[in-house]
């Protein structure tokens, strides 16, 4: 129990954040009550990208060391990332329906999360198509790194795609970003909480995989 103190702390922390999201923060003009979606939707998207980043890092490590342990980390991180990507997409879509009146309208953020979804899907499709463990790890790592190299280019491409169709005031350098301090507190708190949550899930997932590895080695 002693070593699990941070898990309890996380539970309390997240409870405070949820309460804060509903009771403490003010609502933003134009978004109404749906402002509160922010504290759950954005952290999901954050974890989705973070896990993609971590997966790519472990892929590089794998290619350097050829140690299957790194592949386990990379694949586990990708799997968790995929789940959070789906969560972020679904919640974002519901939110978009409420404020933009349609579930999906290909604005830059929707497009980027969609590409991330595609990359994850391709990564898992590739993994399932290869039998041999080390070969699977090698090819998946290469794919992961190539996807990682591609993503920065999307930053340049995607915002330019639809701004002619969706006059988009959202990315606007002149506009100063101001957030109510109370909102900022809960937002950052929630972001932190989700990150710890991600770490926790990653630990569980990798532990399972390590045990499976041990099991198969004994046989």
């Amino acid at each position: 129990m002693k070593r699990d103190w941070w898990k309890w702390l996380l539970g309390i922390w997240m409870t405070v954040m949820i309460l804060g999201a509903f009771l403490y923060t003010p609502v933003a003009k134009g978004l109404g009550q749906t402002t509160r979606v922010l504290y759950f939707h954005v952290p999901s998207a954050w974890v989705a990208t973070l896990s993609f980043f971590i997966s790519a890092l472990y892929s590089i490590r794998y290619l350097q060391k050829q140690n299957i342990v790194y592949d386990i980390w990379a694949a586990s991180s990708a799997q968790i990332g995929f789940m959070f990507t789906v969560l972020a997409t679904v919640t974002g879509s519901i939110w978009a329906k409420e404020i933009w009146q349609s579930y999906w309208n290909w604005d830059p953020r929707e497009t980027s999360i969609f590409v991330l979804l595609l990359i994850y899907a391709a990564y898992f499709a590739l993994r399932s198509a290869i039998e041999e463990k080390n070969q699977k790890a090698r090819l998946a790592a290469v794919y992961s790194i190539l996807a990682f190299v591609t993503v920065p280019f999307l930053v340049f491409v995607i915002p330019r795609i639809y701004d002619s169709l969706h006059p988009d005031p959202l990315i606007n350098p002149e506009r100063k970003i101001k957030m109510d301090p109370r909102m900022l507190q809960v937002f950052l708190g929630s972001l932190f909480g989700f990150t710890v949550l991600f770490y926790w899930i990653l630990r569980i997932k990798t532990e399972i995989e390590f045990l499976k590895l041990k099991l198969s080695k004994r046989m």
Binding site: R36, A45, T49, I94, M179
Partner: protein, 69 residues
């Protein structure tokens, strides 16, 4: 990698500042739905992992028992 999250944040921040004429987003049930989806998603994933972990642990124990014999 940070750009996607950055864009999301900017998106939201921008929307906050956008002068709106139509009253939108007053639906608290949407918030409820989103929150529930996130938590249920995480929860079910944890349950799934937990079951996996238990199964694997059982197998390990069973094997260790076999080896002792």
């Amino acid at each position: 990698m940070w750009h996607i999250i950055g864009m999301y944040m900017l998106n939201v921040l921008g929307m906050l500042m956008q002068p709106e004429t139509k009253p939108v987003g007053q639906n608290i049930y949407v918030v409820l739905a989103v929150t529930l989806i996130v938590w249920l998603g995480v929860f079910f994933f944890l349950i799934y992992l937990d079951r996996q972990l238990k199964q694997v642990k059982q197998k390990v124990e069973w094997q260790e028992g076999e080896e002792k014999k």
